[in-house]
Structures are given as C-alpha cells and as structure tokens.
C-alpha cells in the first residue's frame, strides 16, 4: 500500500469512528437518558415540560431527532450548561481546555523524560537491584489509584510542610490568586501567555503550581512507558543485528543508543499516543483534588448537578481528542515502520 492510500484509509476510518462516537453519545443521552432534563430544573412546572419537549424536537421520531442532534453539533450548538449559569457548552469547553492541556502536557513531559531512561536502564541492567526497584516503582504506578496518590502528595508536600513552616509546594490552583489578579490571558495557556508578556515571576509561579498535579497525573503514564520501554528493549536486545553490532566490537553505549533504541522506541511511541487519553481521564480525578480550573473539575461539578449537556459535551470532546491522538500515532507508525502499511 502506498503511503498516501494508507493515510487516506486511516483518516476515513477515524471519521467513521467519530460518527460512531456521536451515535453512542446520542444513544446515551437521548435513548437511555431523557434529553429534556437539559432544559429544565426543579422549578420548571410539570405542565411546561411537554412544550419544552416539543420546542426542542424531542417528541419527533428518533431518526429526525438523530438528524437534529447531528446538525446541532455541526453548527456548534452543543447545548447550554445549566450548572454553569447557562453558558453554551462549546464556549466553556474552549475556556477550560487550555488549563487541562497544559497540565496533560506537563504530565506527559514528566512521564517521557523519566520513563524512557528508566526503561532503558532497567532493561540493560536486567535482574540487578536497579531493575527490581524500577519494576516495583512502575508496578505501583499501574496499581495506584490516581486520586489517592494525589492526596498523599498534597498531604506531604503541601500540608505537612506548610504546617511545619518549611518551604512547600502550592496546594492547588494554577497560580497564586492573591498576587496576580490582574493577569490577562491571551491563549489560555498560562506558561505561554506569561512568556509572551515577558512576565517571568508569573511564569515561575505557574511552573511551581504545575509540579505536583503534573507529577500526580503523569505517574501512571510514567509507569506504563517504563514497562513498555523495558519489555521492548529486552525484546530488541535479543535480535540478531544487536549480536552482530556487538560482535563488530562496537561499544555497548553505541549498541544500545544507536542500534537498539530506535527499534525499541516504536512500541513506546504508540503507548505514548494512547496514554494521552489516559491523561485526560486522570485529569478528571487530579483536577478535582488540586482545584485545577480545567475540564475535568468542571465535568465532575457538572455530574453533581446532573448537567447532561455538559457531560455530553465533555465526553464528545474527550473522545474526539482521543481519536485524533490515535490517528496521529497510527500515521507516525506507518511512516516509521513501512511494514504496518501492509497489515
């Protein structure tokens, strides 16, 4: 298969999947749940409900409703979020999105810069002390409830140190609200905006605020990347061409970093792409604990208010991000490893 055909096929598949995602969210919100709850609250008189239902087309036969749902979505009308003073869902998503992405990127950076070296070290020193340590460390990461880990971090690094008057990390939020009330956002990414405006103190402050939530969120991904890197490195080190490289008398460092690493990275890259979805899931839990003003905390708050439109919008957005991430990974994979294209 030519590269162009491969890309075309994958993009078409991704589009079908997006339609499937739209259908599933529609089924969940409109068939399993009652969509009229998006437009009413406890003060709505019972007699008004049929009129509201008719006004939004919820009494139409289901194919019409499905069409209405899709056309609304494509026109940017994702409903209004009752729990956020009736703001349009799409607007809120755009507003909260940068905070979550910033957190996810920092978590990803943590995971990659720690995970890949740990995996390599663990594989090259198999069954030595450092390998055992790394394996337990990554196994704990996979088995750890994220929200609990975040609590423990917050308790030790923030509360415990603060009570004992020691230097401590901030316990939540994106920046110190008391000092920087007049800060203007341009793109919504705090680090980027402060750099654009040349405001170094805010940049540093934002960075400090990112450390704890970033690490709490990134630990799971870090563990996954370490495990993947270790196992794929072990696999690659058994290959014939590695033996050849060694028998040519190349230094071990060259063998590992020049010859083995490149092939061992391929499965790891896939995992990194897939882990992005996990990060957004984790953000739901982490943001709640660190008062992070992002999508996740907003979604949890919407749940408490049974805000169907908000949850629907959030689910859709996350699914679309996830599909896009998978698509990109697939394409990179296809470019890196021509064998995949024939699969």
């Amino acid at each position: 298969m030519k590269l162009r055909d491969f890309i075309l096929r994958r993009v078409l598949l991704a589009i079908t999947v997006v339609f499937g995602v739209l259908t599933i969210t529609w089924i969940l919100a409109f068939i399993v749940g009652d969509p009229v709850t998006m437009y009413i609250n406890e003060n709505t008189p019972a007699e008004a409900i049929p009129a509201i239902r008719a006004a939004h087309g919820f009494d139409e036969p289901w194919p019409v409703q499905y069409f209405l749902y899709l056309s609304n979505l494509f026109q940017g009308n994702w409903g209004v979020s009752g729990s956020s003073s009736n703001m349009p869902v799409l607007e809120i998503l755009a507003l909260k999105f940068p905070a979550t992405i910033e957190l996810a990127i920092v978590a990803m950076i943590f995971a990659i810069i720690l995970g890949i070296p740990l995996g390599i070290i663990s594989a090259t020193r198999k069954d030595q002390k450092i390998d055992h340590f790394t394996r337990i460390f990554s196994l704990a990461g996979v088995s750890m409830p994220i929200f609990w880990f975040a609590f423990m971090l917050k308790y030790v690094l923030y509360y415990y140190l603060a009570v004992n008057n020691l230097p401590h990390l901030p316990g939540g939020e994106r920046y110190d609200t008391s000092t920087y009330l007049d800060f203007e956002f341009i793109t919504g990414f705090l680090l980027l905006d402060s750099l654009i405006q040349g405001n170094i103190p805010i940049f540093l402050d934002g960075l400090v605020h990112l450390i704890m939530p970033g690490f709490a969120l990134g630990y799971l991904t870090l563990a996954i990347i370490t495990r993947m890197m270790r196992s794929s490195m072990l696999e690659v080190l058994k290959e014939d061409y590695i033996t050849l490289a060694r028998s040519k008398g190349l230094r071990e460092k060259v063998v590992i970093y020049r010859h083995a690493l490149r092939n061992a990275m391929i499965p790891t890259v896939t995992v990194i792409g897939l882990a992005f979805g996990g990060l957004i899931t984790g953000a739901v839990l982490t943001e709640t604990i660190f008062n992070w003003p992002g999508l996740g905390r907003w979604a949890v708050r919407s749940i408490l208010f049974a805000d169907l439109a908000a949850i629907n919008g959030f689910t859709l957005l996350v699914a679309i991000i996830f599909v896009t991430a998978n698509l990109i990974v697939d394409l990179i994979y296809g470019v890196l490893d021509p064998r995949i294209r024939f699969g």
Binding site: G20, A140, S143, P145, F151, Y155, L285, V323
Partner: protein
Amino acid sequence: MENQIAMTANEEYDPMQFTIAGITGMLVGLVSFIFGIAIFGGLFVAGILGLFSIAFPLPEFFGSIGLQGLLALVTGFVLYRTSKAIKKHELWAFSTSLYINIFAIVVFVSTSYPVVLLALLPLIPLLMLFLPNVKTYWYPTFREDITPRIKELKFSLRLVAKSPLVVAGIIILLVFVLFAILAPYIAPYGPEERLWSDGNLPPLSPSNQPGRPDHIWGTDNSGGDVYSRILYGAQIDLQVSITVVIVAVTIGSLIGAVAGYYGGKIDELVMRITDIFFAFPGLILAMAIVMALGERSLQNVSVALMITWWPTYARLVRGQVLAEREKLYVEAARSIGASDTRILLVHILPNTIQPLTVQATMDTGSVLLVAAGLSFIGFGPPAGIAEWGWMIATAQLYFTIAPWAVFFPGFAILFVALAFNLVGDGIRDILDPKLRRR
C-alpha cells in the same frame, strides 16, 4: 474406533453395563437439569421483572443460588449428552462424564441445605463408570492421556511457587478474600455503624463509648470505624470488579470468537464497533453511561463497566481465533463433520484461554481502580455504603485533620490492584512457552 470394533466383536465387553451406566447418567442429568430450571428459571423471570421495577442484583448474582441454578442447568444438559454417548460406547464421553459428575457433586453440595442430599445422585453414574467391564474399556486410554497433563500442571505450580512476586500477589488476594468473607465475624463494628461521639479519632485510640472495641485504624468524620468499613468494603469492591470482568470476558470472547471465525462482514462490523468503544477512555465512557442510566447504584456502575470492558476481550479473542482457525486440527475437526458451534466452543476457544486469563487478571485490577475512581467522583454506590473509593471521597474533606481515613482505604485499593497485576504478570511469564523452559 478400533476399540469399538473390537468391542462389538469381542464378547468380553458386556453392552448391558454400558447401557446401565449411560441411562443412570442420563437420569441424573435430567434431575440436575430440572433442578436447574426450577432455581434459575424462577430467578430469571424474577430478574426480568426486576429489570422493569427494582434493580436486578447483578453483582450479587455470582456466589448466589442463581449461579448454582445456572450451573446445575448446564451440568444436567452436558451430563445427559455424555451419558447418551456412553450408551453408544463413544470413548470421549467417559472422561467427560467423570469430570462432569464430580462437578455436579460440587454444584449440589454448594447449594442450600435441603438439596445437599442430591449430591449423592451423581455418585451413581460415577460408580457405574468403574464397573469392571466399563473400566477396562476406557481407563487405560484415559491414564495415558492424563499423565502428561498432571505432570505439566505440577510443573506450572512449581514455577508459581518459585516466583516470589506471584506468591505475594496470591497471598494478598487470599487475605482480602478472607477479609471479605469473614468481615461479619472479625469486624468490630458494622459497615454503616456510626458512633458520632467518636468522629475523627486517630488510629489505635479507644472508643469514647464505654465497652466498645478500639478503633485500630481510626475513625472517619462521622465516627465510622475505618478498619471495619475496609473489611466490609472488600466484599463490595472484589465482587464488583470480579463480576464485571467475568461478564465482560464472557460477552467479549463470544462476540470476538464469532467475528474472528466467520470473518467477512461480521468481522468488519464488530471491529468497527470495538473501535468506537476504544475511542473513549474507560472512566469517561463508564461515567457517561452511569450518567445516562440516572440512578447511582452498584448495579449501574457494574453495567457501565461491563459495557466499557467487553471490546478489549472481543479484540483479543478475535486475534487468537484468526490465528487458530487456519490450523490443521480445525481442518480435521471440520472434515469429520463437526458443527461450527462445536469447533468454536470445544476446539478453538480453549486455545485462546491463556492470553485471556492474563488479560482478565490484570484487568480486574484496573476495573477496581476505575470503579473506585467512579465512586470518588460521585458515581458509586449509594452514599454511606462501605466502599473504598467512596470512603476516600467522603474523607477527603477532612483530610487535614483525619488523613488516616483517606490513607487506609487507598492502601487497600493499591494492594488489591497490585496483587492482581502481580498475579497477571506472573501467569504470563509462566504460560509463555518461550520463557517456560530455560
């Protein structure tokens, strides 16, 4: 085949004994079948009705009489079929009959008291198998068959015993299962018992109420004993995660097997559907489903997690089946006229069981984590119930004054998930033929 011909020619085999053995087995099978219908049918109807009124207690289904009824039903059916085959002197039926009768005894013993006597019934066809003539007919082949398997099993067990991490995982799991079973006897307080005067007591402090036992792991803000609640929480958390995985594995592997075996359009359709499910991160999809189902209950959480997890197994089994169906033994089975159902269920599916076991074991840990995460964000069991995620969710508001109420439930989750991961990792290494003998 040769044996059969020899047997009909040779008068030393008494066909009468085979007939007797067969007929008794068939009768016992019928009894078991009817018994199963009586229990399971009733429960099933009640469950269907329950779907429309009150919730069907899905997580409680396993370990309940409903499951035993279902098992009795299936056992009865299989016993009937094999016994019929015994009557026709078919060699495979004898060992199957041996297993199924023993299984039937276990099923009957595990049911409630009045029917325990039924357990004596499968003994009769079991003894019939060892009638002198019948035994000489099947036993030598059976021994030849079973000896290497037993050897292999012993070898696997030795490998398990040699790996400290797997042993540690198994021990942790056993401890928590014991916790769950023995909770009513060893927990000093009830799961929802509140001693308001004891709120936020640190670990190892005595109760303020005279005559009550100490709070060894402290209390939460409303005076619930953390230790007792964790013990009772083990019941719910283990039940939910194991049930979810069992149901998801069953549904997923059946769908995946059909897709992989028939291929073509069915396969394409199923794979596109799993693609859609994989487009959602697990927690988010489960969240959206529970949200749509409306009411917060253990049952809704379980259903949501099952819907979220089945595609994993469908994909896994499909891949396996695709690889297996081209093999010679499938060809052989097809050429002697075995039906598709039989080839799939009897020949192909048992060969997919190893990767499935590994995946399922590891996933039980992840399901536990996601379930705890769900109840943490407010989608758990009804408020007040002792469930680990929910315990953390309620205790988080007081975590500066009572960190132990967050600390201990989280540790329980961590330990159980870790144990499942350890066991899964270990099983994979043990089953892997490349690593097995070195």
